[in-house]
């Protein structure tokens, strides 16, 4: 299986998604996939499938692995939380690569997010600015994840807890809360003497009574079985 072929010209006319769908086990598409990672970073898009395809090719030909690209893939995967993309990527990265400093840092960041340690996460992220600032949209993505976890957990959340989770304080937080109240149905309340309480939107996870009781519904196909009897 040749690596460099003169077919580069033809491949430009396919999108990367098409390449991954049609011809994923092909070392020639490696440069396209690497470019696509950079494109995801700069245009704030994301494709797990394409990135897994690239990590697989790196697995098949370790000499061609670019640790910089792998780091970017991992940051994008982190931004996809709560989806388990980060660990899906780690499964394909050799252990000795994971021992490198920048990957150890990323794994620690992932660990903090997986275990709800938001304050520790933001502290550590501040130390690894060079990794995370290289990917636009990182902060917002993690804040979205934090709010997701808070929405699963809290009906009414005290302001300091929210502030710590999304790493926004003071006036910026006020502005943020106003925006959420106007657009996402958040309600701001006065807590009993201890500051603001934020009422998060109702969903089936923080309001169990909203959980659709799927247990007692009977699908129509089952009823059709007894039509002959009833008829």
């Amino acid at each position: 299986m040749g690596r460099e072929t003169p077919k580069q010209q033809q491949q430009i006319s396919y999108t990367v998604e098409q390449l991954v769908a049609v011809n994923p086990y092909n070392p020639d598409i490696l440069p396209d996939l690497e470019n696509f990672v950079n494109e995801q970073v700069s245009s704030q898009t994301y494709s797990l499938e394409a990135n897994l395809c690239l990590l697989r090719l790196y697995q098949f030909e370790p000499d061609r692995m670019s640790t910089q690209i792998v780091a970017r893939i991992l940051v994008k995967a982190l931004m996809a939380m709560p989806a388990p993309d980060f660990s899906l990527c780690l499964f394909l990265i050799p252990e000795r690569v994971q021992m490198e400093e920048q990957f150890k840092d990323l794994i620690i960041l992932s660990h903090y997010l997986e275990t709800g340690r938001f304050r520790q996460f933001w502290d550590e992220a501040a130390k690894s600015r060079h990794i995370v600032e290289a990917v636009p949209g990182f902060e917002q993505a993690i804040q979205t994840y934090a709010i997701h976890v808070l929405s699963l957990t809290y009906q009414k959340i005290p302001r300091p807890v929210l502030a710590e989770a999304i790493n926004i304080e003071g006036l910026s937080l006020d502005k943020f809360l106003e925006h959420q109240a106007a657009n996402s149905g958040w309600i701001l309340e006065k807590g009993h003497g201890r500051g603001q309480l934020i009422v998060l939107p109702r969903n089936e996870f923080n309001h169990p009574e909203l959980k659709k009781s799927a247990g007692d519904t009977v699908p129509l196909e089952h009823i059709t079985r007894i039509f002959p009897i009833l008829g």
Partner: protein, 520 residues
Amino acid sequence: MAANYDYEEAPGTYDDVNRQDLGYDPNFVPDSVKSFVVHLYRHIREKNVYEIHQMYDISFQTLSDRLFKDTPWPSVDAVAHYVDNDQVFCLLYREMWFRHLYARLSPTLKQRIDSWDNYCSLFQVVLHRVVNMQLPNQWLWDMVDEFVYQFQSFCQYRAKMKNKTEQEIALLRQFDQAWNVYGVLNYLQAFVEKSNIIQILEQEKEGGEQFTANDGYDYSGGSNVLKVLGYFSMVGLLRVHCLLGDYQTGLKCLLPIDISQQGVYTSVVGSHIATIYHYGFANLMMRRYVEAIREFNKILLYIYKTKQYHQKSPQYEQILKKNEQMYALLAICLSLCPQAKLVEETVNSQLREKYGEKMARMQRYDDEAFAIYDELFSYACPKFITPSAPSFEEPLVNYNQDAYRLQLKLFLYEVKQQQLLSSVRTFLKVYSTISLGKLANYMEVDEPTLRSILFTYKHKTHAVDSDGKITSNADLDFYIDDDMIHVVESKPVKRYGDYFLRQIVKLEGVVTDMDRIKLE
């Protein structure tokens, strides 16, 4: 890649290290073998699928047990003239020849390479020529299954560089394309594409095709080989991706097959089990525990009810092994994600018997618990591989455990993150409401730490499914109002609807029976 028929050499000239053929003459063809190949050849030409299946499944095993317990079958050159030197038959014969070798003996490196060559030749024929055969599903499944198995075996073998002889290293360098991962994946992918199987399965839903209804067989005079190989290759791809650690893509390859229904994959017991085992394992690694539990439960019940029918079959041992492995995986899933109602009674009692004590210890999340998670995972996991070419630089090392160690490490890492959830669950069972401060006290942690633990509980019990939706698999749940935790236990819902349906049908049955009774 021309097949290399060099087994004409007398045993003495075999210069490989592992010689297992002392006293074996590859050219001696017993009468029973002559009869076997002649009849098999005729049945294949006449498309007598039932007879082919009998010969392939039963006669081949019987002859192997009787005459070739620890020697290979006669060489293909010795039997070729009984079958008109038919190229395709010879390729099929060699496929069986190598499968027998792998099962009973230890293949040499040269034999591994030759087997690869044979698969390439055979697959090229199926992919690029019009093949006019109908072969039994069992055989077609075995081809794909064995192909992936030999690939896995080769990777394991190749990764043990330390004690390789100079000859072996020279051969590895020379035949560096044998069992290369691109080749394996691309053959499987080629079968899927060339057979058009995905479109066929799609059209079936709208009634346009009869593939599943006919068990994959072609009743209009054509051949089932390419289509069924394409179908089983989807399972093959799932398996290879699991071996590489790419669970997401593996599941994606299986997607065209609807495992909630019967299908061609259930027509062969080996295929059924391999599919669900890998499906369940992939879901486990993707933290979709409920999905894994559901499927393991179904297949374990199925095996329990049907294994007696396979006692004489050559697959029996494999069935039993996979059965045990899936119980271990089920134990892991249920320890990480307790579910009260998902496991059927028979399966549950088997599970308690095999792993009841271990599961209790796993819930304690102490050092002993991690050791048990390690033990069960290591017992039940696939034989992960390192797909890249070996390094021939000194010093030569064995790296055949690397892939497995990585998957194990990451799995245990996930288990560790769930360490504190078990104690939270214990407290939540006891209280309907409790303040954060009080619970923090009981658990001997500070409030911020407790909050993190509660966040972890929520995050880990609310999995992201294949459509990106969040579903809760928590048997015990809670919400927090300011600083007060309110516990919500999901009550088991009484399924009135199902109950009434069953009783209606039952009553109808009784009335019908009564009507039939003629009173004297």
